[in-house]
């Protein structure tokens, strides 16, 4: 299996990082590798050519810098070009002065329109809007039913009628006006870009309801054809943006680059999982960071902000600092993390986490996390505060109560003890020690590379070392102010509310399989 774009770039660029000077032949080699990597990532050939040329020109013109090594400079250039292609900045939704704001989703069959419609409605709801879903896919059997079920799960009503797609859309708009809904999300049938009849139908839908936003839903696994498809839809519908789906797969998502570059419309949203809250605005700068292996720290922080309950987070931080982190605190933190989405999703956004760890994390599903939770919940409050009192008979009781084995209980307790040790290191040794310990915590799992950890520790810099966890105050309190998306109206208050809603939403999302 070939490496992902991230791995590939990491390979090339780590060689460059250690190089003192960079000759034209070095640049050629790098560019050849980048070309292959981009093609294997399904970036469209024409886009690859443009990208490689742009990077070459800038690399040749590079002036020696005092602060950056030539390798770092190339990284910077590649990163900047990636960001440029991916969109420069994220799309901001402007709501119609006279509601409802109408959003139409179109795309090929199986790109994920129906799921996206529900996720988008949920997102709008989180923004404090009051959306209505319209099921205008009358083609695929049970598509309407699917949207109804999903609508119920996100708490948004779904309008449809068995007439024809154009009338359904139009009636949906009327219905939204009648009900005073301020956002209308219209799901349409999947269609091929060369199916003249169906393309005409979607054009008529757009004419009938004049959408404020028309999004093309595109699968991150799409190959070279992404561009032809996007161009055809753009010609028919005048797209405003693209929704990229199935980003939780291991596809490298070159389609995102291609479509952005060729159609010139931003990737507005990205869908990163099967859960209905695995969906957010697309952040091109972060995506490029991710491609370059820097992790998507910013997304993670924002997500954490939104779903972390401030009190719980700071309580946890305090407990950590004072070295009295108990199983009860752990359980609380676990709930917080669960709200942020799937474990592997969260982990994949952390920088410096090696792909081996990520691979190991993909083995974890929420049911297994549930098992850990069950074990802790089967303990008495005393046991949770002081696990050392758990003896043989208590262990048997806990195992029975949680439907696990005593070996599982033992494993948990052992891991927890190790973690407590790590916590003490966290207080004393600062970031490097703590992150090193995190690798160790993964037990038999592979560890993050020491390089990455060192790099991370370097990135954290002195403020952390001197300020220690005092820095956490900033993370809890000021987070919203330097959030990279200005699009959310009032990040703090909305944020924590969103978190609570998110918890409720968690209950109605389909069970993790």
């Amino acid at each position: 299996m070939f490496e992902s774009l991230t791995d590939r770039f990491e390979g090339i660029l780590s060689r460059l990082r250690n190089r003192g000077r960079l000759g034209p032949e070095d640049i050629d080699e790098v560019l050849r590798e980048i070309r292959t990597a981009l093609l294997e990532a399904d970036v469209e050939l024409g886009v690859v050519r443009g990208f490689v040329e742009a990077v070459r020109e800038r690399c040749l013109g590079l002036e020696l810098s005092h602060s950056l090594s030539p390798g770092q400079q190339v990284v910077k250039v590649v990163n900047e070009e990636l960001v440029r292609i991916l969109g420069g900045e994220s799309l901001r939704i402007t709501y119609a002065g006279r509601p409802p704001t109408v959003v139409v989703l179109a795309g090929l069959q199986g790109s994920g329109k129906t799921t996206t419609a529900a996720k988008l409605a949920r997102w709008f709801k989180q923004q404090g809007r009051n959306p209505l879903l319209v099921a205008a896919d009358l083609q695929r059997p049970a598509a309407v039913e699917q949207l109804r079920v999903l609508g119920e799960q996100v708490g948004v009503s779904v309008f449809s009628q068995p007439t024809d797609p154009v009338s359904v859309a139009l009636a949906g708009l009327e219905e939204a006006r009648r009900l005073g809904r301020d956002v209308l999300v219209v799901d349409t049938a999947g269609r091929l870009s060369i199916d003249a009849e169906l393309m005409d139908e979607v054009r008529r839908i757009a004419q009938a309801i004049s959408p404020h936003y028309t999004f093309l839903v595109i699968d991150a696994m799409t190959g070279q054809d992404a561009v032809a498809t996007a161009e055809a839809f753009h010609e028919t519908l005048a797209l405003d943006g693209v929704v990229l789906t199935k980003l939780d797969g291991d596809a490298r998502g070159g389609a995102a680059l291609s479509v952005k570059e060729v159609v010139g419309r931003p990737i507005a949203f990205a869908s990163t999982g099967e859960k209905l809250d695995d969906f957010d605005l697309f952040h091109p700068d972060r995506m490029a960071d991710r491609i370059l292996g820097m992790g998507d720290v910013l997304s993670l922080i924002e997500q954490a902000e939104r779903s972390f309950d401030e009190g719980v987070a700071s309580k946890g931080a305090a407990a950590l600092l004072e070295g009295r982190f108990t199983l009860e605190d752990f359980l609380e933190q676990l709930q917080q993390v669960k709200k942020m989405g799937s474990m592997s999703g969260v982990l994949s956004m952390l920088p410096g986490v090696s792909k081996d760890v990520k691979r190991a994390s993909s083995m974890v599903d929420d049911r297994q996390v549930g098992q850990v939770e069950a074990i802790i919940r089967s303990m008495t409050p005393y046991e949770r505060r002081d696990p050392s009192i758990v003896d043989g008979s208590r262990r048997v009781r806990i195992a029975r109560g949680s439907g696990t084995t005593t070996a599982d209980v033992n494993a948990l307790l052992k891991q927890f003890r190790e973690m407590q040790k790590l916590m003490k290191g966290f207080g004393k040794g600062g970031m490097a020690g703590a992150l090193g310990g995190l690798g160790g915590l993964l037990g038999r799992g592979p560890k993050p590379s020491p390089e990455a950890l060192a790099q991370l520790a370097g990135m954290a810099g002195s403020p952390l070392e001197t300020g220690g966890l005092g820095g956490m105050g900033g993370f809890d309190g000021d987070g919203g102010r330097h959030s990279a998306t200005p699009s959310r109206p009032s990040p703090r208050s909305k944020g924590s509310k969103g978190g609570k809603k998110g918890k409720g939403g968690g209950r109605v999302t389909p069970k993790a399989r």
Binding site: E89, A96, G110, L170, Q207, D225, M459, P510
Partner: protein
């Protein structure tokens, strides 16, 4: 590693992650803060990341990136009330060539460019490379195919551009037709013989449920008694979608609860299929990304259950979307390792996508394409024809 060991290792990972992630999240928070501060020093004009210590307000706080949408009154023309095109009126199976014809000519430019040159030169190879890459054949497979042809041109075995094109085509046809076969379900010899189970696997949105429906239509046409197992218990209304196909094709269907255990549905279907004299059970499964280990495990379990008497797994078909790029190879590899795929169904080939990834799949895994989806109608599923497929690539 023995089974209990594996369980323990997994539980270690869970615990490690569950404890590690909160810590890591907190740590990441600190890291970002540190980073922001540093960035604030190095590049004070960093556009989106405002340093927490910088007192001045952002330069353009509310400049919207998009203009306010124009608020025209929607054109309220009377909606044209056409009959919804629910059933494609395809009574006979479409011809492979006829349907593919729509998308032909996209890469024809390369071929004519190659032909127009009198001899084989560097530009010829560039054109061929480009054509193959644009068809999603992939860099590795393209390099290997062209490397072989280069050798044959050098040795004089291949003369001019026409001979080169012919050699390329015949190479591709040979690759794609190895292991080619027509699949079908024989009638069950008696009530005691095991019932054939066909399993349909693939990532989300490739068209598994639709393919099951189309195959049901085809096998019903051959007079088989077909039972559908709605093994996609995850996607909302997937069971409903399959039930509609059952009704449309005159097959029976076994459904479970949404969110239920798919293996249980398949088990029930096999029991019922065997007891009620069905010839074949077509088991739909939920779409799953191949990098989700737990979901791949679930699929293995489904296969084990289906293969237990009175059932026997006759086919495991990987459903692959023709628009899929290089990720298709990873999909084929993981699914083949997990559930021993017997063939590929290439869907949505009636669009502009070429589906060249099947060349790479055939080359590296020897997995043949057995069926091709050419539309949404029940009859739009035909046997794979390597020659027609290759013709359409150019």
């Amino acid at each position: 590693m023995s089974a209990p060991d594996l369980v323990l290792a997994t539980s270690d990972v869970v615990i490690g992650l569950a404890t590690g992630i909160p810590v890591a999240v907190l740590a990441a928070g600190a890291v970002v803060l540190g980073r922001l501060r540093r960035r604030a020093v190095v590049t004070p004009e960093a556009p989106t990341l405002e340093a927490p210590t910088t007192p001045e307000a952002p330069t353009t706080p509310e400049a919207p990136t998009l203009e306010a949408p124009t608020l025209e009154a929607p054109t309220l023309e009377a909606p044209t009330l056409e009959a919804p095109t629910l059933e494609a009126p395809t009574l006979e199976a479409p011809t492979f060539r006829g349907r593919l014809g729509k998308a032909r000519g996209l890469l024809a430019g390369y071929v004519s460019a190659v032909r127009a040159r009198g001899s084989v030169d560097a530009a010829t190879w560039d054109d061929l490379e480009e054509a193959l890459i644009r068809a999603d054949v992939g860099v590795q497979a393209t390099d290997a195919i062209l490397e072989d042809l280069r050798g044959r041109v050098r040795s004089g075995e291949i003369g001019g551009p026409d001979a080169l094109l012919a050699a390329l085509k015949s190479d591709l046809v040979t690759t794609l037709s190895s292991g080619a076969r027509s699949i079908g379900a024989p009638e069950r010899s008696g009530p005691d013989s095991p019932v054939d189970v066909w399993l349909f696997v693939g990532v989300n949105g490739v068209g598994k449920t639709t393919t099951v429906g189309k195959i049901a239509h085809r096998l019903r046409g051959e007079g088989r008694k077909v039972l559908l197992a709605a093994g996609d218990t995850f996607r909302a209304a997937a069971g409903e979608q399959l039930a509609q196909w059952a009704e449309r094709t005159g097959a029976d269907v076994v459904r479970g609860n949404e969110g239920g255990d798919p293996s249980a549905v398949v088990f029930d279907a096999v029991q019922r299929g065997s007891a009620r004299g069905f010839d074949v059970v077509l088991a739909d499964t939920a779409g799953r990304l191949h990098n989700k280990a737990n979901l791949v495990e679930e699929l293995k379990k489904i296969r084990r259950v289906a293969d237990r008497p009175p059932g026997t797994v006759a086919e495991v078909l990987l459903v692959l979307d023709a628009t899929t790029g290089q990720n298709g190879l990873a999909q084929a590899k993981v699914f083949t390792e997990a559930v021993d795929v017997t063939g590929v169904v290439l869907t949505k080939l009636d669009g502009t996508a070429k589906g060249g990834i099947v060349v790479a799949i055939q080359r590296s895994l020897g997995l043949p394409v057995v069926l091709v989806g050419l539309g949404e109608g029940p009859g739009d599923l035909v046997d794979f024809d390597a020659e027609a497929f290759v013709d359409a690539l150019f």
